[in-house]
């Protein structure tokens, strides 16, 4: 009897110890140096480009799409649950244009990573307010972009490839201490919280992406037409998905090409998550997803939704790959950078030469004769 009691105690200790180990591991994971900073930065850039592209594509027809001219879509708008649509409720054409342009500028600034957090908020609110005005012509990719922008709010999206990072680096040029001071002067949240939130956001968006791919893949594989490799034929016959009819016919005319594309779409969605687990298969599935999305963008005229999809995929590229790319990019751009720097100096020299003959004599004369110094 006693033995059993001791053994139960042992088991309890073991469970408690294991649980503690998990909790500690989770805490370490959350509090570690921020992960995936490059991937998150590329996601930010991609999502900003999607928003910007969509707004540019619809700029000339904005008054009919979401402005006064969309009054016919009022009954659909009335049942929309987004409170943001109230921002544009019944506004005049001019106000819509201002709002639209401000959202575009916010997307540009998010793209460049200039005050990324603030531009993320403005882009998100502006995007929802504009797109939700006309639910009749809404697109599934709107949801994808909105959800990604929401999660990005939690993350440190401008630590790499951004004007924010560039500014911090420049300020902190004086060495480690100065760099840290420059960083901490811009930090609003304590380090533990900003790191924790970054990782929570990363967890949320990565899980969402995997679920999305899995759901899309499962839905497709359940249909006979996808199993047979002919699913994209009928879609590519419809006028709205046929920007280049000759190209569509060329591709669907070949049974092999059609099946290749159909299976590529199906497999990259269905097996996206499991293939991420191994470093080699991860590279393969990411490369295949990129190719598939570029093809879809052109063949079906879906550029902005494909781009948004790719921006999500960018989260899963390893930091090592990005670092190598970053290095190569910098060394490739260095000559151009040097050239611009030299022209900058030339410009400065020219300005001094002009100033010496014009501004300085005038200011000297002014100081000597008027101020009498």
């Amino acid at each position: 009897m006693r033995d059993v009691g001791y053994r139960l105690l042992d088991v309890r200790d073991l469970v408690v110890a294991t649980f503690r180990r998990w909790i500690f591991a989770a805490e370490d994971w959350l509090l570690a140096e921020p992960r995936g900073l490059y991937g998150v930065a590329v996601c930010r850039i991609g999502m900003a480009l999607s928003v910007l592209g969509l707004l540019i594509s619809n700029f000339t027809t904005r008054q009919v799409w979401v402005g006064q001219g969309s009054v016919w879509a009022e009954p659909a708008r009335a049942i929309s649950q987004f409170p943001e649509i109230a921002l544009l409720d019944g506004v005049s054409g001019d106000i819509l244009t201002v709002f639209y342009v401000v959202t575009m500028l916010a997307a540009v600034s998010l793209l460049l990573g200039w005050h990324a957090k603030a531009s993320n908020v403005v882009t998100l609110v502006g995007f929802i307010a504009i797109v939700a005005q006309n639910p009749v012509v809404a697109d599934e990719s709107d949801n994808l972009i909105r959800i990604a922008l929401l999660w990005l709010l939690l993350m440190q999206s401008s630590e790499r490839w951004s004007l924010d990072a560039w500014r911090r680096d420049r300020r902190g040029n004086g060495g480690g201490g100065a760099a840290r001071a420059a960083r901490s002067s811009e930090e609003v949240l304590p380090v533990w919280l900003s790191r924790g939130l970054h990782h929570v956001g990363l967890l949320g968006l990565a899980t969402q992406t995997i679920l999305l791919f899995m759901a899309g893949g499962l839905d497709k594989v359940s249909q006979k037409i996808w199993q047979q490799g002919t699913a994209l034929y009928s879609t590519m016959q419809l006028p709205e998905f046929r920007p280049f009819p000759a190209l569509s016919d060329l591709l669907t005319g070949s049974t092999v090409a059609l099946a290749l594309l159909t299976y590529a779409v199906l497999l990259t969605q269905l097996f996206f998550a499991p293939l991420l687990l191994n470093p080699i298969s991860r590279r393969i599935v990411i490369a295949a997803t990129i190719v598939v999305n570029v093809l879809i963008a052109v063949l079906l005229a879906l550029p902005w939704s494909s781009l948004a999809c790719l921006a999500l995929v960018a989260l899963f590229v390893s930091t090592g790959t990005y670092e190598r790319f970053d290095e190569r990019l910098r060394s490739a751009l260095a000559p151009a950078g040097d050239w611009f720097a030299m022209r900058g100096y030339d410009l400065q020299d020219a300005w001094f030469a002009v100033a010496e003959r014009t501004v300085y004599p005038v200011s000297d004369w002014f100081r000597a004769n008027v101020l009498r110094r």
Binding site: T61, L144, V200, G217, A231, P243, L300
Partner: protein, 249 residues
């Protein structure tokens, strides 16, 4: 590279606890979304459709088949004609049918980044066709009658008396949208005073892939469904101007 500050040892218990709770919430959130994305099953049913919907919508709303591209089989068409009065002569006439979808199709050709306005007619047709599925044969007969001097809200009452109320609400919303859209389009296209409009939706299915060498969707005739005349909608000056610029003459 690694920063020793703010590791586990430098944080307080409540700080670590808060982060753990947030991470847990993110995971629970993902699990809820999984049930939302999944087709209906025992777990989803036990949570309840309404509960899930109020949690997920609007910000996290997505559909099961969200990830493009999808297999689509139906080509849809939206047409209308209008009864208009010439404001100077006072003469009235009925216009020819205007094929909105055809105009959109030519605008979409060779466009890699199509504007969404070119989907308006087609989406209206898709939604009206969808709403029609919810109506029974008695109700389908009712929507064919004209509502010119009688307000169209009377039609809603008659439809509701004849069958399922949910489908009626959806149909009435799209009827209103189609009427407004056709009225504004007609005004932009023909000018004058628009008295009534009548819209028409068509659908045709893409033939089997095996027949592609002999028969494509363009060889298939649309099957049309015509609705009764509806009293025209008069848009504000600014709204109509926006539409005029888009449609051109």
């Amino acid at each position: 590279m690694s920063d020793a500050r703010d590791g586990r040892s430098d944080t307080r218990l409540w700080q670590r606890g808060l982060l753990l709770v947030l991470a847990f919430v993110a995971l629970i959130h993902s699990a809820v979304l999984m049930f939302w994305l999944a087709p209906s099953g025992p777990v989803r049913d036990s949570i309840g459709e309404r509960t899930l919907e109020t949690y997920v919508n609007p910000y996290f709303g997505q559909s099961w088949s969200a990830l493009a591209p999808n297999a689509q089989f139906v080509d849809e068409s939206f047409r209308f004609r209008a009864h208009i009065e010439n404001e100077t002569t006072g003469k009235d006439r009925v216009t020819e049918w205007v094929d909105v979808t055809r105009a959109d199709t030519s605008a979409l050709r060779h466009s890699l980044d199509p504007a969404r306005v070119h989907q308006m007619g087609r989406r209206l047709a898709t939604n009206i066709n969808g709403a029609m599925y919810g109506l029974d044969s008695k109700q389908r007969k009712l929507v064919k009658t004209n509502y010119i001097s009688t307000p169209v809200s009377v039609l809603q009452g008659r439809l509701a008396a004849a069958g399922s109320p949910n489908a009626v609400r959806a149909y009435m919303a799209y009827d209103q949208m189609a009427t407004r859209f056709a009225s504004m389009y007609a005004k932009a296209r023909f000018g004058g005073k628009i008295l009534e409009v009548q819209y028409l939706v068509g659908r045709r299915t893409v033939p089997d892939v095996d027949d592609r060498s002999s028969k494509t969707v363009r060889d298939v005739e649309f099957s049309w469904f015509a609705f009764g005349y509806r009293r025209a909608f008069e848009a504000t000056y600014e709204a109509q101007t926006a539409f005029d610029e888009y449609v051109g003459r």
